[in-house]
Symmetry: C2
Subunit: 229 residues, 2 copies
């Protein structure tokens, strides 16, 4: 005979295993993917592991530590390629787009990245790849070093924007929200807001990908300029 507990564990989740940080991380990521960061509570993660919230504290100091560990796991899914001087610019775009994609696949994790300055093992692999690629592109040491902070920051911010729309704020899609903001710009009094009114179209043009690519290219051009100085 199969008990209720057995039936539940084979249907909803992996069979009950001994607790461990890894088990908590995986349970946390399941909750994150399903219901977003807010749903990642100690109680919910514990329930996912068929135990009580207190048990989680055996392997993890608190909720923030669990979230940080989850973040490093997500960063670990990003694939890096060896730096190639011929394609360095494209490689930077690919790496940053992969970061955004990995974070968008786990809605809310981007907030954890901003609140904590990622220094986990996998973040270091990403930083090493970024640094190698920037240097391959001829960017000088100091600009390259600082860019390792700035560029992932743009990726994180872009991912957070993605979260906003995937959460369907006010039930709007991204397009609807942009259109609404554009209408607001156009209806602004032109005497007090001449520039916003004039550039209403430019302000709302382009999707997230296009704007992100533009920001990256601006930054890279600026880094190259700084490298020549």
């Amino acid at each position: 005979v199969s008990t209720d507990a057995q039936r539940r564990s084979t249907r909803d989740r992996p069979a009950k295993r001994p607790l461990s940080v890894d088990a908590e991380i995986e349970a946390g990521l399941r909750v994150l993917k399903a219901d977003g960061l807010e749903a990642v509570t100690m109680r919910r993660v514990a329930a996912e592991l068929d135990t009580g919230p207190a048990s989680l504290y055996v392997y993890v100091a608190n909720r923030n530590e669990l979230c940080t560990a989850m973040l490093d796991r997500v960063i670990g899914t990003i694939e890096v390629e060896p730096a190639d001087p011929e394609r360095w610019r494209e490689q930077v775009h690919r790496l940053l787009n992969a970061m955004v994609a990995a974070m968008n696949a786990h809605p809310g994790i981007a907030h954890v990245a901003l609140a904590n300055i990622p220094t986990g093992g996998n973040a270091l692999v990403g930083a090493e790849a970024m640094l190698a690629t920037l240097r391959a592109g001829g960017i000088a040491d100091q600009p390259a070093a600082w860019a390792c902070d700035i560029l992932p920051l743009l990726a994180t911010a872009t991912a957070i924007e993605g979260d906003i729309y995937s959460a369907r704020v006010n039930g709007e899609t991204e397009e609807e929200a942009i259109e609404r903001v554009g209408a607001a710009f156009r209806s602004l009094p032109a005497d007090r807001f001449p520039n916003l009114a004039a550039l209403a179209g430019a302000m709302t043009s382009g999707d997230g990908d296009e704007r992100f690519a533009f920001a990256i290219d601006c930054m890279l051009d600026g880094l190259l300029a700084a490298s020549r100085r």
Copy 2:
């Protein structure tokens, strides 16, 4: 004779006034300045106004709406100056530094800015000033329009970093944290992390202000390059 209530209100807070969005915003900002964003709970703000949490919902739909209103109030403290083509670069730096300072004076509010895409009235004034200054500097319309998103984003991210240190994560100061990270970089195996090991010094050099100024200048140079294309 002065009652306990009178004495308390003159010592601790403004005299009890009728409820209003403004009263809630001001109470919220007092809590924010004193104890950070986490402490801004409906219950705490209500207590600050000598009432119960349910009363707040008469003027505000939920906690997020209150936080967004608080953010717009903070943005309103930023002073803008008319665009001057002779000093446009300096003006961009001043405006963005003022944004960071305003947010750092209210620890945690930067998170609200990222989670919500500020579109309040005061945010529009800031955007108009930014746009005017960028155009005065010769930046073309489309780059200027997109820069209105990207540049404040850098400011917000910088403010969040400031929050991390003002919170004294692990009781460390900013300098101690940078030194710890630097030590970690230097001790990395040079065969797997040749670039990080080589640039450990560059990675940790410069304080927040210097890095922020560098990021702004890179971005502006990139925007100028894009404007010429």
